[in-house]
């Protein structure tokens, strides 16, 4: 069995900006543990000499020329904003500082 705990699931929910009810916390803990159990077949492998593959294609360095192109008009940008003010996106107060 995976050693995933309810507290860990709650911590992960916090990192992911999700709120889980007690019932969801229980259910998710069980369901995630099941998937992680399935992943134990991977953990059991000795792959210490294997390089990781983060991406399936190796295209080398891909660069774009430093040229300015037209962006979106401000009206188009703010059209989808849940709240806007003074040409900017409005959000409720920010409590924490940027890391």
């Amino acid at each position: 069995m995976s050693d995933l705990t309810r507290d860990e699931v709650a911590h992960v929910a916090h990192l992911a900006r999700l709120r889980l009810s007690d019932e969801e916390l229980d259910r998710f803990t069980g369901q995630l543990a099941q998937v992680l159990d399935h992943a134990n077949d991977l953990r059991a492998l000795d792959l210490s000499n294997v390089a990781p593959t983060a991406h399936p294609v190796d295209l080398g360095t891909v660069l774009r020329r430093d040229e300015v192109s037209a962006g979106l008009g401000r009206d188009a940008v703010l059209a989808s904003a849940p709240a806007a003010e003074d040409g900017r996106f409005a959000v409720p107060r920010v409590l924490g500082d940027e890391p």
């Binding site: 891909v62 774009r64 300015v68 500082d97």
Partner: protein, 471 residues
């Protein structure tokens, strides 16, 4: 610093790169536009958008790396995941275990070599304005976000913990800024935020392991940096001497209060969940690109400092004056003046004092600088007039002739000067008889009064000559 303590300082410097477009999209990279007018699906992080890396940003990052003697290496981009409204994707594309530049150094004029751990590429965030309350972050009612800055290319330069004093921290930041400007990668403007400095400060008894460090943010000038580091080191020493313990935390420098205060405690270690950015390929700067950048790189401040020192020979110049001249990019002015036979001390003083700290050379060109100093040396401009004209030229440019004419600075005829000197002598008979009796230092007294009477137009040497003929 109190006896028996040593401070250990490392700096993290972010600099915006002088590209035309942003790091991963074609939006303009320009300061001061109307909010949210330099944005597109990519830098707004709209669903489905994808980043494509700007070649010029890579070249400028390589230029910084080469200037700092780093190894330019194959690198990758990672995502740094955290939620913040300034950050359109709620992750920042940055570099992690494989930065483009690593393992360099920067030599300071005091002989210290500061190691450069890394200088990596990353994207900038947007900017929030906090409204309501007092307008400060914590009591604001709401915030307004402008994403024009989001995606602007940055290089973050991380020094080793090799700095040992607040003065040295300032010296390092000033020298680094000069290097960044010399590479053409940055304009180095701290007040506009295009160069931003965070300081990691800890204290220890010499020889002991590193102490717990605090990171100081909001350092908007070199002066703030120096003050903040000094304050913070004192705070930590006082705490430790009282038997306390330094908490690892991020602290905010308040320039008005002159102190740092807790911003965020790092008890709950940040978990940024770094992983390879799957929307970008690896970044391996080609040998051709590195060679091209290297060839285009002009002389760096250290080299220019050595060249100027050699030219000065025995001429006295303190380290600070020399640093000001070199870091302000004024050495070409000084060298040209010396080559025209102008006194080295005068050239250094005028460059450092009139151009260095004030505004830089601005629109002043080398021939105009040399001409002004030549006239001052020949007694055709007073010192005051020369300083005024240099200021005018830095602001407005043009030729020395035009600037001098615009001010109406014509040399005083010896008759006119003689008349003024005679008047001043007449007004101060006591001082005059003492001067005549051999009290030479009173010459300064008379020069001062003549200057006052002529509104600075008189030449000091000419005044002395007039005094001598009457003595």
């Amino acid at each position: 610093m109190r006896d028996g303590w040593e401070m250990v300082i490392g700096l993290e410097v972010h600099t915006e790169l002088l590209t035309a477009s942003k790091l991963f999209c074609g939006c303009a990279n320009a300061f001061g536009a109307e909010p949210n007018t330099q944005v597109c699906p990519v830098c707004l992080g709209l669903p489905g958008s994808l980043p494509v890396l700007n070649e010029r940003a890579v070249e400028l990052a390589v230029a910084i790396g080469l200037a700092l003697h780093c190894t330019v290496a194959p690198s990758t981009f990672h995502r740094k995941n955290y939620f913040y409204p300034d950050m359109p994707k709620d992750f920042q594309i940055s570099q992690y275990d494989l930065p483009i530049n690593a393992g360099g150094y920067l030599d300071l004029s005091d002989g210290t070599r500061v190691t450069i751990e890394r200088a990596h590429l990353e994207e900038d965030t947007g900017k929030s304005t906090h409204l309501g309350g007092t307008g400060r972050l914590h009591d604001a009612e709401r915030s307004l976000v402008d994403y024009n800055r989001a995606g602007v290319p940055l290089v973050e330069i991380v020094s080793g913990p090799d700095i040992r004093s607040p003065e040295q921290a300032r010296r390092y930041a000033a020298e680094l800024r000069a290097v960044l400007v010399a590479t053409g990668a940055s304009d180095g403007r701290m007040e506009e935020g295009s160069m931003r400095v965070d300081a990691n400060v800890s204290v220890r008894r010499p020889g002991e392991p590193l102490g717990t460090r605090c990171e100081i943010k909001n350092l908007n000038s070199l002066r703030s940096l120096q003050r903040a580091v000094a304050y913070e080191a004192d705070r930590q020493v006082a705490l430790l001497e009282d038997g306390g313990r330094v908490r690892q935390e991020t602290r905010h420098w308040d320039d008005g209060l002159g102190q740092t205060s807790t911003m965020r405690v790092k008890e709950e270690a940040e978990d940024y969940r770094y992983f390879r950015e799957p929307d970008l390929t690896e970044l391996v700067p080609s040998e051709a690109m590195v060679a091209r950048v290297r060839a285009a790189l002009g002389p760096m401040p250290a080299e220019r400092r050595a060249a100027l020192t050699a030219l000065l020979g025995d001429a006295e110049a303190t380290g600070d004056v020399l640093d000001t001249v070199i870091q302000g990019g004024l050495d070409a002015f000084v060298r040209a003046a010396i080559e025209e036979g102008i006194d080295a001390g005068l050239a250094l003083a005028r460059a450092a004092n009139e151009l260095g700290d004030a505004q830089g050379a601005g629109r002043l060109d080398v021939p105009a600088f040399v001409e002004v100093l030549a006239r001052e040396s020949a007694g055709r401009l007073s010192a005051t007039q020369a300083k005024t004209v240099l200021g005018d030229l830095a602001r407005a440019g043009g030729t020395a002739d035009d600037a001098i004419a615009a001010r109406g600075f014509v040399p005083m005829s010896s008759e006119a000067l003689g008349a003024v000197v005679a008047t001043v002598i007449g007004e101060h008979p006591g001082e005059w008889s003492r001067y005549v009796a051999g009290e030479d230092k009173l010459a300064q007294f008379f020069i001062g009064h003549v200057m006052k009477a002529t509104h600075g137009q008189a030449n000091g040497q000419a005044v002395v000559a007039e005094l001598e003929t009457r003595r």
